[in-house]
């Protein structure tokens, strides 16, 4: 049985805002009967056509699809269209107290429907494409290159989800978007997209800050050790422990494979260079006995 949070269960059993808005300003429809889930989202705007005053939905799908739709409509009310567009699928999932990874695509469906509704209202290109399934929901004008033919998903859309949710494997992309979960033919392309996105993230160089308070410096040292250095050591079966920080002097002890390793001096040097690079130029790393 799925491990749904009490909030997911509540929004499934008592969904908010089910129905339609006959004079809706914006309507977004994604998914199909064939896909196994579908969402039709209605938005009513204020007289300036900017702020969402009402949102309703109809969903065909599993418990988490219904809960995600319900959550989304609650989140939308009172927001401007631009604010609404900044809602990510992650926030929908967080609103629900989290979703099982295999069900993340339900939150993505909410985000998709929202984007479609607003794009159609504004007369902009539709961000996703419902392809093969002839249920009258095909969008002729979609953005990007079609990657997953089974579920009608484009590279633009997939890259966005990969980036927002920091996805690293094709399996995760399938859990989040369904892409690759049908015939599986697009899995190589999905891997390419992941590489493109992660490559892009790495391109943004992290810069050493100009000035640091002692407190901030200590924080950053810890962050760099956790995020950049320890994972490297783990890869070789090693580890390190931060013993103390005194001004610019950082004391570390090497653990596991690194402890007593002949090249631990080199490792300490590597840590020092990294910290100098990312935190402050004057950092000195000292190795202390474990």
């Amino acid at each position: 049985m799925w491990d749904y949070t009490p909030i997911v269960k509540d929004h499934f059993l008592n969904p908010r805002n089910v129905g339609d808005i006959p004079d809706a300003d914006a309507v977004g429809e994604v998914g199909s009967l064939a896909c196994g889930d579908a969402l039709k989202l209605y938005l009513k705007l204020d007289e300036n056509k900017d702020k969402i005053v009402d949102a309703k939905f109809q969903t065909f799908g599993c418990a988490s699809a219904i809960a995600s739709s319900s959550a989304l409509t609650e989140m939308l009310k009172g927001k401007t269209l631009d604010e609404a567009l900044s809602i990510s699928n992650k926030e929908i999932a967080e609103f629900l107290g989290g979703l099982p990874e295999e069900k993340m695509h339900c939150s993505v469906m909410g985000q998709e429907a929202l984007e479609v509704a607003i794009a159609k209202f504004r007369g902009e290109p539709i961000p996703i494409h419902d392809s093969e399934h002839d249920h009258g929901h095909a969008y002729p004008d979609f953005e990007g290159e079609l990657v997953c033919k089974c579920f009608g998903l484009t590279d633009t859309f997939l890259k966005k989800v990969i980036e927002t949710n920091k996805l690293t494997t094709a399996e995760q992309v399938t859990h989040f978007t369904k892409a690759g979960g049908g015939c599986g033919g697009c899995i190589p392309k999905i891997k390419e997209l992941i590489a493109q996105v992660s490559g892009k993230t790495q391109e943004k160089p992290r810069k050493r800050p100009e000035k640091l308070s002692n407190m901030k410096k200590m924080q950053m040292i810890q962050e760099v050790l956790e995020r950049d250095i320890r994972p490297l050591l783990w890869a070789d079966g090693g580890d390190l422990e931060l013993i103390d920080i005194d001004g610019s002097k950082v004391q570390v002890a090497f653990r596991k494979a690194c402890a007593g390793c002949a090249s631990s001096g080199n490792t300490a040097r590597m840590v020092e260079l990294k910290l100098r690079d990312l935190v402050a130029e004057d950092i000195v790393v000292e190795e202390v006995a474990a």
Binding site: D20, G36, Q58, C62, K178
Partner: protein, 391 residues
Amino acid sequence: MKEIYLDNNATTKVDEAVFEEMRPYFCELYGNPSSMHFFGGQVQEKVVEARNCVANLLGAFPEEIIFTACGTESDNTAIRSALEVFPDRRHVITSRVEHPAVLTQCRNLAQKGYRVSEIGVDGEGRLNMEEYKAAVDNNTAIVSLMWANNETGVIFPIEEAAAIAKAKGALFHTDAVQAVGKIPINMATSDVDMLSISGHKLHAPKGIGVLYVRRGTPFRPFMVGGHQEKSRRAGTENTAAIIALGKACELAATHMEFENTQVKAMRDRLQNALMTSIPHARINGGLADRLPNTISIAFEFVEGESILMLLSELGICASSGSACTSGSLEPSHVLRAMGVPFTCAHGSVRFSLSRYTTNAEIDCVIREMPPIIERLRQMSPFGREFLKGKA
């Protein structure tokens, strides 16, 4: 909350009498049947008795019964064995609707260079016998076809299929996990060479299975390293579970008629009531010969997991062919092989009854199901279109 358990094709309640039978073999009579002392010997006697009970239910000889850990182990063992005893035969036949315990193994074999034929089924889930007959040849090492389908309950003509395999010198294995105890099976008049049973599908505990291997059938063990089961399945016997399974088989024989009259009557009543009260529903495999306890019913415009969750809120336990329940994205391979439209496959629910099911429980499902489907259709864009059209 008191459960209304209608998911007996997934697993069953251990019969109280079965539990009583196995209880002493944990803390008191825990001896190893292989031991030379009286303490192990008395357990050995009970294992012999249990083997006789299983054999009786199948119309088999006791030495044809090999105890395993589960139905999956039995399935894997049977297919691997056949390929080892016939190294020159490089062809395997199965069906598109098999349990993954067989299907995955066959697909792995296909990757290793074996030729694998997956025989199709018609819209009612019935085996395409013409396709099957044409597929069996002198290169076929083994045919593995399920006796009854776990999702739809559809029964395959196993005796006829086994005879066809025999004529070409191929071994015939059947996954009878869902059939044993529900419909009569008699190995004495059969051409089946190997047959798999799973204890927990017939009111014995989980973790015990049987592979029936006909006398004289060439066999290579999967588990080696011990003389147990005449060296056909090494490993210390799961004595308590074996003894439990023996009792469960004895009871199954006595309840068989009840399954095919009373249980079947409740199943039919449930089926007729749901088909009458809920529009746009269909029975998957409804026209085929089916197990007496199983009904797979598809509701259009709604999704299976949602139905199960709402049923579960009321204590009703069922199962689904929907993609969402398994975490996969495609609906059940069985329903797809039958050509059930996607629109229905996603909204399929399976109820599987047992001898413990009561008429009051069936009444409850008959009462609760229509509002659940109505509620979800009201919520579904497709359901609303349909309801609007109806108005």
